[in-house]
């Protein structure tokens, strides 16, 4: 029985079974998208991108929490919160939109459409730069006060 005669849905299974029996040819070994499903490696890459954003969010949250709770207070009132809370808020925003991006990418790949442009890198860069600038000002002011 040739794998080619089966409904295409069954082909990977049949192919796996056949190659386990030692009948695999070079054609069978090719990893190609089937039934409109994207190559699974693209799905894995999409999944890793999601996870990388989740880690970024967790890093921002952890940093923000360490700033507000572990850092000795600035003489400027609310200084720690001024730099810590925006980072945490950015982390929350990223955790939501990273999932939205993952889903949009997955859908585009299934349709064979170009991948949507993500706004996350730009937003992250802007917020982190602003927080860094505020932190710099705080540190300079603090240094002058001593």
């Amino acid at each position: 029985m040739a794998a080619g005669r089966l409904p295409s849905r069954c082909r990977p299974v049949a192919r796996a079974m056949m190659s386990r029996m030692g009948e695999a040819s070079n054609d069978d070994a090719r990893a190609t998208p089937e039934d409109g499903e994207p190559d699974v490696r693209f799905s894995y890459a999409n999944e890793r991108t999601f996870l990388a954003w989740i880690r970024t969010a967790l890093g921002l949250i952890t940093a923000g929490l360490a700033i507000t709770q572990l850092l000795p207070p600035f003489s400027f009132p609310g200084g720690r919160r001024l730099i810590g809370l925006p980072l945490i808020a950015l982390g929350v925003a990223i955790s939501f939109s990273s999932f939205a991006n993952w889903r949009a990418n997955e859908r585009s790949m299934r349709r064979g459409a170009p991948l949507p442009r993500s706004q996350l890198p730009r937003i992250t860069a802007i917020v982190v730069s602003l927080v860094a600038l505020i932190g710099l000002v705080l540190v300079i002011v603090e240094g002058g006060a001593k």
Binding site: P12, V13, A16, S19, R20, G22, A24, D28, A29, A31, V40, R41, S43, Y44, A45, E47, R48, F50, L51, A52, I54, R55, A57, L58, G59, I61, T62, G64, L65, A66, I67, T68, Q69, L70, P73, R80, R81, G84, L85, I88, A89, G91, V92, S95, F96, S98, F99, W102, R103
Partner: protein
């Protein structure tokens, strides 16, 4: 290793990288949980911090476990067919957001 695994290029290394990414993500949760609890050696922990920290540590372990489950699914039968779907990832996105909201409240109202 079966003949199938040896002869099929498949997603092999991509699946492994993905598993490692899951492990790193679990570790990031654990680090976040420890940071929230501010190191177990510290004498003065607020109850709110300990409670949130424990939840985050549990979440981190869950992420690690989920990564392991996905990886096993991918290696075993008909690998390449086991994609993560929304039901796998939604809890992680919502969990991270919840951790962030809890951290925001801790940072805003329990500055210590």
């Amino acid at each position: 290793m079966t003949a199938f695994e040896e002869e099929t290029p498949g997603p092999g290394l991509a699946a492994e990288r993905t598993d490692l990414a899951w492990n790193r993500s679990g570790l990031a949760f654990l680090a976040c949980g420890v940071a929230i609890m501010r190191g177990l050696a510290r004498p003065h922990l607020s109850h709110a911090n300990v409670a949130v920290g424990v939840v985050v540590l549990v979440l981190g372990s869950a992420v690690w476990a989920l990564g392991g489950i996905l990886a096993r699914r991918r290696v075993r039968v008909d690998r390449g067919r086991a994609r993560a779907d929304a039901t796998d990832l939604v809890p992680i996105a919502i969990g991270t957001a919840a951790v962030g909201i809890a951290a925001f409240i801790l940072g805003a109202f329990f500055p210590s």
